[in-house]
């Protein structure tokens, strides 16, 4: 379990993290999502005592990370897959970390087995691919068999097999009752792995809740209809779709997309006009849409900045 309260990080006058609060509960995978520079990594670094908060605190299993008697037994952490000396072998790297907590060689071999790096155990880390580096980092995180796991962008550089493997590993760790926090910018990956989401943007929490709730709170389901007479259907629906945010559009392949009307409304209207469907589906909002909606402020800010720059240049 991780608890973050009023956590703030100030670099000079610029605040990277602005007094955020959230809790990461055990037994589920919590996704930590946000654009680059939103404060994800800074927050994770403060959780494990690498960076000192300007204000507020972060607790791992009810205590400040620095006060844990055996930190590796409490939390497994992967912040940077490249955080190992290039000239050292993977085995020696793990052995050096394990030694700090009196963890024996058997466990070192176990975690190498779990992460599939046994075959390259005696190779220097410098020759590793990013994916292999991630596996070594995850092996390091698992050494102490910790109840809390914190991973920053763990699927970066993994091949499809690796992504599937880590998804299953994280689901299994959560099913064992552990607290799992992972950050990622890969939306599809989050959808398939996370149960709970914390979305951060410009140092503030934009959303915090179960994945489906977060998605449905900022996106609206669409109704998609396929028919041989898309224009007639669209015309018929435009009269009905008058509510706020309602929209009807004919997409390239002749599919009609309707927002602001239920599938039932659409079907009734079609029946009234004698239009035949060959497909009618309700499409839930995707995490990607939700994410874009939530972080729209950041994007607007950036485009505005670019606009003013180009204006200045053309003048």
């Amino acid at each position: 379990m991780i608890r973050v309260s009023g956590l703030t990080k100030q670099y000079g006058k610029k605040a990277a993290v602005k007094g955020i609060d959230f809790t990461v509960e055990p037994g589920q995978v919590t996704g930590f999502l946000g654009p680059n520079g939103a404060g994800k990594s800074t927050t994770m670094r403060m959780m494990v005592g690498l960076d000192r908060p300007t204000a507020g605190f972060a607790e791992v299993n009810g205590r400040n990370y620095r006060d844990l008697a055996a930190p590796l037994r409490e939390a497994g952490v992967l912040l940077d897959a490249r955080a190992a000396h290039r000239r050292r072998t993977a085995y020696k790297h793990l052995l050096a970390v394990a030694a700090t907590h009196g963890i024996d060689k058997r466990r070192v071999h176990e975690v190498m087995g779990i992460t599939g790096i046994e075959p390259v155990a005696h190779k220097r880390v410098g020759g590793f691919s990013l994916g292999m580096g991630q596996r070594l980092g995850i092996a390091t995180a698992l050494l102490g068999d910790p109840p809390t796991i914190i991973l920053d962008e763990p699927v970066n550089g993994l091949d499809p097999d690796g992504i599937l493997w880590i998804r299953e590993l994280l689901r299994r760790l959560a099913a064992e009752g552990r607290t799992v926090l992972l950050s990622s910018h890969l939306m599809s990956e989050m959808t398939q792995t996370a149960d709970h989401l914390v979305v951060i943007g410009q140092g503030r929490i934009l959303a915090d809740g179960p994945l489906q709730e977060v998605v449905s709170s900022v996106t609206r389901p669409k109704v998609r209809a396929r028919t041989r007479e898309p224009q007639r259907l669209a015309t018929a629906l435009v009269e009905l779709a008058t509510g706020p945010g309602a929209a009807v559009s004919v997409v390239a392949d002749g599919t009609v997309e309707i927002e602001g009307l239920s599938a039932e409304d659409v079907a009734r209207a079609a029946a009234w006009h004698g239009i035949v469907f060959h497909e009618l589906t309700t499409v839930e909002g995707s995490l990607e849409e939700a994410y874009l909606a939530l972080t729209a402020h950041d994007t607007e800010y950036r485009s505005a900045a670019i606009d003013s720059q180009t204006n200045g240049a053309t003048r």
Partner: protein, 285 residues
């Protein structure tokens, strides 16, 4: 509870976590594994042995061709045996120290190190102890090897420095301990600067370049004090046997006794280590 991720996992684990707390001995073992698993460090340590043994052998073998002194001087013989190791070894030792922490920052492995030991100061303590021990032992081995290898050459001319002659053993131990202190100085500087390159330059300046520059400064109180305070001159004093006893410390003649040398070297080490410790505790990693 999957047996695949946690064979040792059991619900009561937290109850007995007091038996699993991270100990200082674990940190020492960790630092030892780190040092011994880096080829560059091992090569540098071999370099101390090679430079010390090679240099003293060279001086011993060329003793006759360069002119055998007519008066036996214990100071001269001991200096010929130990100074090659001290002069070249002090830089190598300092770099070993700088690298032991600088490499952690440049490779990013400082992150897992501090995550495993978030209180940080024990990491610096363990690193200091391990680096000091390894370098001092290598210094001792080199000093005794140099002494043993060159002994016959000096004995031939009655110039030998017997270990039981007054001050000889102290000089041998002093030379090895000086290398150890140089390494600790390097650990402190490396922690402060987080850079192997700049750290190595500073080691070079205070051990070798500084004493040379200070000796060519215009004669005055300032240049005299600077000269006496240089780490390299303290090392020279620690590894020297005096034919004629002198004062504890004389700024004007530049005479530094072994005891004063120890104190100056310890002061440098303590200063660097304290600065490094403060930076380590205060800064974000």
């Amino acid at each position: 509870m999957s047996p695949q991720t946690s064979p040792a996992h059991n619900p009561t684990r937290h109850a007995d976590s007091v038996f699993e707390r991270a100990r200082f001995s674990g940190l020492i073992r960790s630092e030892w594994v780190k040092t011994a698993s880096l080829p560059s460090t091992v090569l540098l340590l071999i370099g101390i042995l090679a430079a010390g043994l090679g240099g003293s052998m060279f001086l011993a073998v060329t003793l006759e061709s360069s002119g055998v002194p007519s008066v036996a001087s214990l100071e001269q013989t001991v200096n010929d045996v130990l100074s090659p190791m001290v002069i070249l070894g002090q830089i190598i030792a300092g770099i070993v120290g700088v690298m032991s922490i600088g490499a952690e920052y440049s490779s990013g492995s400082i992150q897992p190190t501090l995550i495993a030991s978030p209180r940080r100061l024990p990491v610096l303590g363990a690193k200091t102890l391990v680096v000091f021990s390894i370098v001092t032992v290598v210094g001792l081995v080199t000093a005794f090897a140099s002494w043993t290898a060159t002994y016959p050459f000096y004995a031939e001319h009655g110039l030998e420095a017997r270990l039981d002659a007054p001050g000889v053993l102290v000089a041998v131990l002093g030379s090895a301990a000086y290398l150890g202190l140089c390494a600790v100085f390097g650990v402190g500087i490396g922690t402060l600067l987080r850079s192997t390159t700049i750290g190595a330059v500073i080691v070079f300046v205070v051990t070798l370049l500084g004493p040379i520059l200070a000796s060519v400064l215009p004669y005055g109180l300032f240049s005299r004090v600077v000269r006496v305070l240089m780490l390299g001159n303290a090392g020279d004093a620690m590894s020297r046997v005096r034919d004629a006893p002198g004062p504890f410390l004389d700024i004007w003649t530049g005479h530094i006794s072994a005891g004063a040398g120890w104190m100056i070297a310890l002061a440098w080490t303590a200063l660097a280590l304290t600065a490094g410790a403060l930076a380590l505790m205060k800064r974000d990693a």
